[in-house]
């Protein structure tokens, strides 16, 4: 198990270097010269050239990349072109918000998806299964901005139970933090929930037809133990895979939902950076997001090793 884990971790390092290189190259290919933008509308050619040199844009591509990556490994992702903040600082400001939102959304999703998936799998083909299948189809096809606006209209405006927009840091007020997160967490969580329910229903109902489940029943193990322990551990692999995708996606910042609810997370930061052509900021966000996705994938991979003993050997 330990060698398996070490091998997985070792595989991440070349991957993250490749991603960072790709990101750096791609962003520099975006049309438009940030030096022109920064130097201002009425700048002379000399001023623009001076700005270019100040930003290091006159160096060769590889020198630029090297300067950037060697800073990045020390935690310095550069300076925002438009604000006084460092890229690292901005990301560190925003990331806890996105992390909280993700955790809340995943909690909502799992609290609904696990019971719903089990019920559907146990009653495959009968009405509880059909009801769950219908609801998951709706959940998957519903756009999150629409669901978000709907929730705001019903639960914030028509009956003001939750605030429509805004975010309260956890350090300020725990209750206010939770209160603000409910609607966005449900908005994000329901789509995730639908995906997970569908996956769990499929894999669990397959597993429940396996011989070893019959063995467990024949040995007199209680119905609940058979499903939850013997069934779920085997059914979990595809579910964890989907959950990993979703968490990676959410941690990268859910742009639309953060916008709808006015939450200052990574997604909000990213959209600003793109609109302002704040290249160091874009690079920093993409590399950090990519690293997060890889980290989540690592956790998913390690969970495979726990869930399926065969994986540990290969």
């Amino acid at each position: 198990m330990i060698t398996y884990a070490l091998r997985r971790i070792a595989m991440i390092i070349p991957l993250i270097i490749m991603v960072s290189f790709g990101v750096y190259a791609l962003v520099l290919m975006i049309p438009g010269d940030p030096a022109i933008t920064i130097a201002g509308e009425n700048a002379t050619e000399e001023q623009i050239q001076a700005t270019r040199e100040r930003l290091g844009l006159t160096d060769s591509f590889f020198v630029q990349y090297w300067n950037w990556i060697s800073g990045a490994v020390r935690g310095d992702l550069g300076q925002s072109l438009f604000s006084s903040q460092t890229v690292t600082g901005a990301i560190l400001d925003r990331f806890p918000v996105t992390l909280a939102l993700t955790a809340a959304a995943v909690t909502v999703a799992l609290l609904i998806a696990v019971p719903a998936g089990i019920i559907a799998a146990l009653h495959r083909g009968r009405w509880p299964d059909r009801a769950v299948t219908l609801l998951t189809s709706i959940g998957i096809s519903m756009p999150s901005f629409w669901l978000g606006i709907l929730l705001v209209m019903v639960l914030a405006l028509a009956t003001p139970i939750f605030p429509a927009v805004g975010y309260t840091p956890l350090s300020e007020s725990v209750l206010g933090w939770a209160h603000n997160l409910v609607l966005p967490a449900f908005t994000l969580g329901l789509a995730v929930c639908a995906e997970i329910t569908r996956q769990l229903r499929g894999s669990l109902s397959d597993v429940l037809h396996q011989d070893y489940i019959r063995t467990a029943r024949a040995a007199g193990l209680r119905g609940r133990i058979v499903v939850v322990k013997h069934g779920m551990k085997n059914a979990a692999v595809p579910v964890v895979t989907v959950l990993g995708f979703q968490v990676g996606f959410l941690l990268g910042g859910s742009v639309v939902v953060e916008r709808v609810f006015g939450i200052p997370g990574l997604g909000d930061l990213a959209i600003r950076a793109v609109l302002e052509r704040d290249i160091p900021m874009i690079q920093g966000i993409v590399v950090v997001s990519a690293a997060i996705v890889m980290l989540v994938n690592l956790v998913v991979d390690l969970s495979y090793g726990y869930l399926n003993p065969k994986v540990r050997q290969s």
Binding site: D211, A218, G220, L221, R222, G223, H230, L307, P309, K310
Partner: protein
């Protein structure tokens, strides 16, 4: 129709199945797949339940444990008694207490019958702990002890291994350890050797025999293989199309079969001295539960069939009744008194 089919004079059986009837839902309504099956098994005795696939033998064994999937299956009549306890009609919780503790079961597929996600020893310990409510360490010790008993070398270490690290024969040994860990009164074995190589098969049969003798377990051995039945069983019940067609002690069944279906099964056994002889087969296929022939259900495939075989007998409105020929042999053949059937060669 065969309510009185327990042979008189036998000691009180451990498990007694009487006139069991099981139906399955089909597109054309309920089909009866087990039709009045009766048999019993005593302490330390092994009874074979023999038949082709679709004869209802596996359904019968699953019904004993209440493991039939419902829907589509339903038990519509009969009785399954474990000692003094009637198992039919027990609530699920009560059945769960009996399963694995008093009645255990092993299955055909050793490769898939153990849970791939848990160590083998843990799976045995879990069953023991569930029924005996003992400490974890006691259950773990029992698992190692059982693995040792079934002949797994270095049992303490192997108990921590996962099923995929075991060979097929080893897995079936582990399955037997799991089934026997609570010292059950009855072991239902559903084709436990069918998926194994010949030599492994013989080892597993030896193991089952020694476990039976050590624990005084009553074994119901479900198989299609008369050769295996001869090897391990004291008596056998031959099933065809959901009914018992013959029951007899093993030597009688082998050398003096009293039903043409048994004769045909014996004829289909491979002969070691047969040399160039082509393996005999039974012509035709077994009827499906929705479309049973009138009279004797075997007559369309029977070498000895006469026109009267197609008519129901007076004693059974929908077919031919099972008739006791002695206190231990019964046959469902109309012509049983006139036929001289050929036994094993």
């Amino acid at each position: 129709m065969t309510a009185m089919s327990v042979a008189p004079g036998t000691e009180a059986p451990v498990l007694e199945v009487t006139d069991l009837r099981v139906q399955f839902a089909t597109d054309r309504g309920w089909a009866t797949v087990v039709d009045g099956v009766s048999f019993s098994v005593g302490r330390a005795e092994t009874v074979g339940v023999v038949g082709e696939s679709g004869s209802g033998k596996t359904v019968t064994s699953l019904a004993v444990l209440g493991l039939l999937p419902s829907p589509p299956a339903r038990v519509v009549g009969g009785s399954i008694r474990l000692g003094d306890t009637e198992l039919l009609g027990l609530r699920r919780r009560e059945l769960e207490e009996i399963r694995g503790d008093e009645v255990a079961m092993i299955f055909q597929e050793p490769m898939t019958s153990l849970n791939p996600a848990f160590p083998v020893g843990d799976q045995i310990a879990e069953v023991f702990r569930r029924h005996r409510r003992c400490s974890r360490s006691r259950a773990r010790a029992r698992a190692v002890e059982m693995l040792g008993k079934v002949g797994i070398p270095d049992a303490a270490r192997r108990a921590r291994a996962y099923p995929h690290e075991f060979s097929g024969g080893m897995r079936q040994r582990a399955m037997i350890a799991l089934a026997m860990c609570c010292d059950p009164r009855v072991l239902l074995a559903d084709e436990p050797t069918t998926a194994l190589d010949g030599t492994i098969q013989a080892q597993i049969l030896d193991l089952m025999r020694s476990m039976r003798d050590e624990f005084d377990t009553a074994i119901v051995f479900v198989t299609h293989d008369l050769g295996v039945v001869a090897d391990i069983c004291d008596r056998a019940v031959v099933m065809y199309a959901g009914q018992v067609v013959e029951k007899a002690p093993i030597d009688d069944l082998y050398y003096h079969p009293r039903h043409p279906y048994t004769e045909a099964l014996l004829g289909a056994l491979p002969q070691l001295d047969g040399g160039t002889e082509v393996l005999a087969t039974i012509p035709g296929t077994a009827p499906t539960p929705g479309a049973l022939p009138a009279g004797c259900r075997f007559h369309p495939r029977c070498a000895h069939a006469r026109p009267e075989c197609a008519h129901p007998t007076e004693s059974a409105a929908d077919g031919v009744a099972l008739r006791w020929l002695s206190d231990s042999v019964a046959s469902r053949c109309v012509r049983v008194d006139e036929l001289r059937l050929r036994g094993a060669r």
